[in-house]
């Protein structure tokens, strides 16, 4: 009953034209920032922090959290339409969203992304409201061995991305993991594989790598097959998915939303890992796993449901314990402090109006995302209706400025072109590029926790800890299962011959 009263208090905080207008502005800014490669959710929130300084604390935080949740959806727009993920987590959305656009079903891709984001976001917030404090305490009990096991489980998702050749998917992920070791070693501070180049001390930045592997490589592939005629994609429709199609993916959305929220709670895990794991789980449990990667609505729903719900999850440790779980949460923590508020248990006691005002605003923000998305999608789809000979130069121009904008570094632009060439080579010879991204994303988490666990407790750490044992076993089975399946398939084909 107390919780119900608190939630009502939250809705009272956002009642009135001013908070609603702020939520609307936050959602629009968030969607635009998310759709722009190079502008991460954390950058978008950080850019608006100075503007929120003179606002009332509740309104300022409502604006910033609205941007945060909307930017996660915004990333899917360019991922679906031009295979250029606006945010790292949208890389998973592109796996099925872009094939849908290529087949002329951009409307369906964007529609599913929108609905899954909205439902996922709402479920994430609901879990946040109900279980914020106990969940945050549980996540803090995780040891480095558990985190290592969790990261390895994330890596195991790669095995299902091989599309008939698991070995190539594994090589792709190992390439990503090896690339991630470039730079200053996070534990000992030793410079590794930098070749004396100080631009490499921080390693390769994720966004330029992502843009290169996904967007630039696609342009290269299309240019290689160029026929000399700048055609327009045939029959692009802006039709939303039918009600029956939604019913088919309802369980995927629910499942991915729960997975996304749970993974979001773990500090450092984040939306990208949530999206990859959810995608893998959905593929394994789908009745049409062969459609994944070829324009599956389930695939889009799994990725978007998870990455949007992870926002609610990531806010759990921030609000309940004052621990930022992601870069955006760290910026939000700064915004809280700017307004003399300290996230943690005392915030719930001293400022319930602000805490529950944020919760209520997040629920309303999800409805606004749905509204803006429904009307905006028709406009967004026009992007892919332009001839390829205009579209591809524009994609390259966006890729270059997007890569530069992250750190203001020309080195990142060069890295983007380099990763574009790598992505083109990989695609040409049947290696999936998504595992490279997964390797880069998870590399630090795997290495740091592996080494911490060994330093603290020796190599036996992973076997003494029950939770890590269970997760490691699951990860091992996830790796092995597709290999066994592939081997069986080969034997069956041999026997048939």
């Amino acid at each position: 009953m107390e919780l119900f009263d608190s939630v009502m208090m939250g809705f009272a905080t956002i009642a009135g034209w001013k908070p609603i207008l702020i939520i609307f502005v936050g959602v629009v800014v968030g969607i635009l920032a998310g759709a722009m490669p190079g502008l991460s959710p954390s950058t978008a929130v950080a850019l608006l922090v100075p503007f929120s300084y003179t606002m009332e604390p509740a309104l300022a935080l409502i604006l910033l959290t609205s941007i945060y949740i909307a930017s996660n959806y915004g990333g899917s727009i360019t991922a679906v339409l031009i295979n250029t993920p606006g945010t790292p987590s949208a890389a998973v959305t592109a796996l099925d969203g872009y094939p849908l656009t290529q087949q002329g079903h951009a409307g369906k891709g964007l529609g599913v992304a929108l609905i899954a984001s909205t439902i996922g976001g709402a479920i994430g917030v609901l879990i946040l409201i109900l279980f914020a404090v106990p969940l945050a305490k549980l996540a803090l009990k995780f040891s480095p061995a558990d985190y290592f096991a969790l990261a390895l489980f994330g890596l195991a998702t790669v095995a299902s991305m091989g599309r008939g050749n698991v070995l190539k998917a594994l090589v792709a992920i190992l390439f990503g993991l090896l690339i991630k070791t470039i730079g200053i070693d996070p534990i000992s501070g030793v410079s590794r594989f930098t070749f004396g180049n100080d631009m490499l001390y921080d390693g390769f930045t994720l966004i330029p790598a992502l843009i290169g592997l996904f967007a630039v490589s696609v342009v290269f592939v299309r240019v290689e097959g160029w026929t000399g005629i700048g055609r327009t994609l045939d029959k692009i429709d802006n039709k939303l998915p039918t009600f029956n199609e939604f019913l088919k993916i309802k369980m995927t959305i629910l499942k991915s939303s729960v997975i996304g929220t749970i993974i979001g709670i773990f500090p450092g895990a984040g939306a990208t890992i949530a999206a990859f794991i959810s995608y893998d789980v959905s593929k394994r449990s789908s009745s049409e796993p062969e459609m994944f990667g070829k324009g599956s609505l389930e695939g889009v729903a799994a990725a978007e449901g998870a990455n949007s719900s992870s926002v609610g999850g990531a806010l759990v440790p921030l609000l309940a314990l004052g621990i930022p779980g992601s870069a955006t949460d760290a910026v939000l923590l700064g915004a809280f402090m700017l307004h003399d508020l300290v996230p943690g248990p005392l915030l719930f006691r001293d400022h319930p109006d602000i805490v529950y005002g944020i919760f209520a605003a997040l629920i309303v923000a999800n409805l606004v995302i749905l509204l803006v998305g429904l009307y905006g999608n028709k406009l967004f789809i026009k992007v892919v209706s332009v001839p390829e000979s205009l579209l591809y130069p524009m994609i390259l121009a966006i890729a270059m400025i997007g890569s530069f904008a992250v750190n203001g570094s020309m080195f990142d632009v060069a890295a983007c072109i380099g990763f574009g060439v790598v992505g083109w080579l990989f695609k040409r010879y049947g290696y999936p590029v998504a595992p490279v991204v997964l390797g880069i994303v998870l590399g630090d988490m795997v290495e740091e926790n592996f080494r911490r666990a060994v330093i603290m407790d020796g190599y036996g750490a992973f076997f003494r800890d029950k939770l890590s044992m269970v997760v490691l076993t699951l990860a091992f089975l996830s790796f092995i299962y597709p290999l066994v399946k592939q081997w069986r398939e080969k034997r069956r084909l041999k026997a048939e011959k």
Binding site: L39, L47, L167, K168, L170, V171, L174, F175, L177, L178, T181, D185, I187, S188, V190, R192, F193, F220, V223, E224, G225, W226, G228, I229, G230, P387, E388, S389, L390, Y392, P393, M394, L396, A397, M400, I401, F404, A405, G408, M410, V413, A414, I417, V421, L425, R428, Y429, Y431, V446, E447, F450, R451, V454, I455
Partner: protein, 183 residues
């Protein structure tokens, strides 16, 4: 061990890189002249992975040696990358159906890539705005778009958008080259 340390940095590392490059190139030539010519790329890509792994492996000999130290995890990835790349080469050589996707217009792709690289350097010399305008107009023309007015409008529109949003609104210091003084 001292030979490994010698090859892990400075002139030794350059020699090692050159030797690995020669081995990969030699393998490429050998495959190209053999009956498995059509598998050129399929074999050369994992070979390059192995070469890269070996290069990285030698560099790790220069890292401090300790339990779970800075070389532990890279070596783990290197071992598996070599092993699995080798397995892919084996799998490719054993394959009976040697049908490989036909190459497209590689020369044209190289030309477009060179334009992109030239754009990268031009950004630092003549600045982002002018180089982007030239890049967009040139590439749209190369990709045989005919309507000149549309090309100019799209390129100008993008320059205007990036100036307002990135330069003015977001304060991103885009490279200005020789025109820095005028902004």
């Amino acid at each position: 061990m001292s030979a490994m340390v010698y090859l892990s940095e400075g002139p030794g590392l350059i020699m090692l890189a050159a030797a690995l490059f020669c081995i990969v190139a030699g393998t490429g030539i050998a495959v190209h002249r053999s009956a498995k010519k059509q598998l050129f790329g399929e074999i050369l890509l994992p070979c390059s992975m192995i070469a890269l792994s070996i290069l990285f492996l030698f560099i790790t000999f220069d890292f401090p040696s300790e339990e779970a130290g800075p070389s532990a995890v890279p070596r783990l990835w290197i071992f598996w990358l070599c092993f699995l790349s080798g397995a892919i080469i084996w799998q490719t050589l054993k394959r009976k159906d040697t049908e490989v996707k036909k190459s497209g217009r590689l020369g044209f792709l190289l030309f477009v890539t060179l334009i992109l690289v030239a754009y990268y350097f031009a950004m630092q010399i003549i600045g982002y705005f002018l180089s982007s305008f030239i890049f967009l107009v040139l590439l749209m023309h190369v990709l045989s778009y005919k309507r000149k007015l549309v090309i100019i409008t799209v390129a100008s529109g993008w320059i205007g958008f990036s100036y307002l949003v990135f330069y003015k609104l977001l304060y991103i210091q885009l490279p200005l080259g020789y025109f820095e003084y005028y902004f």
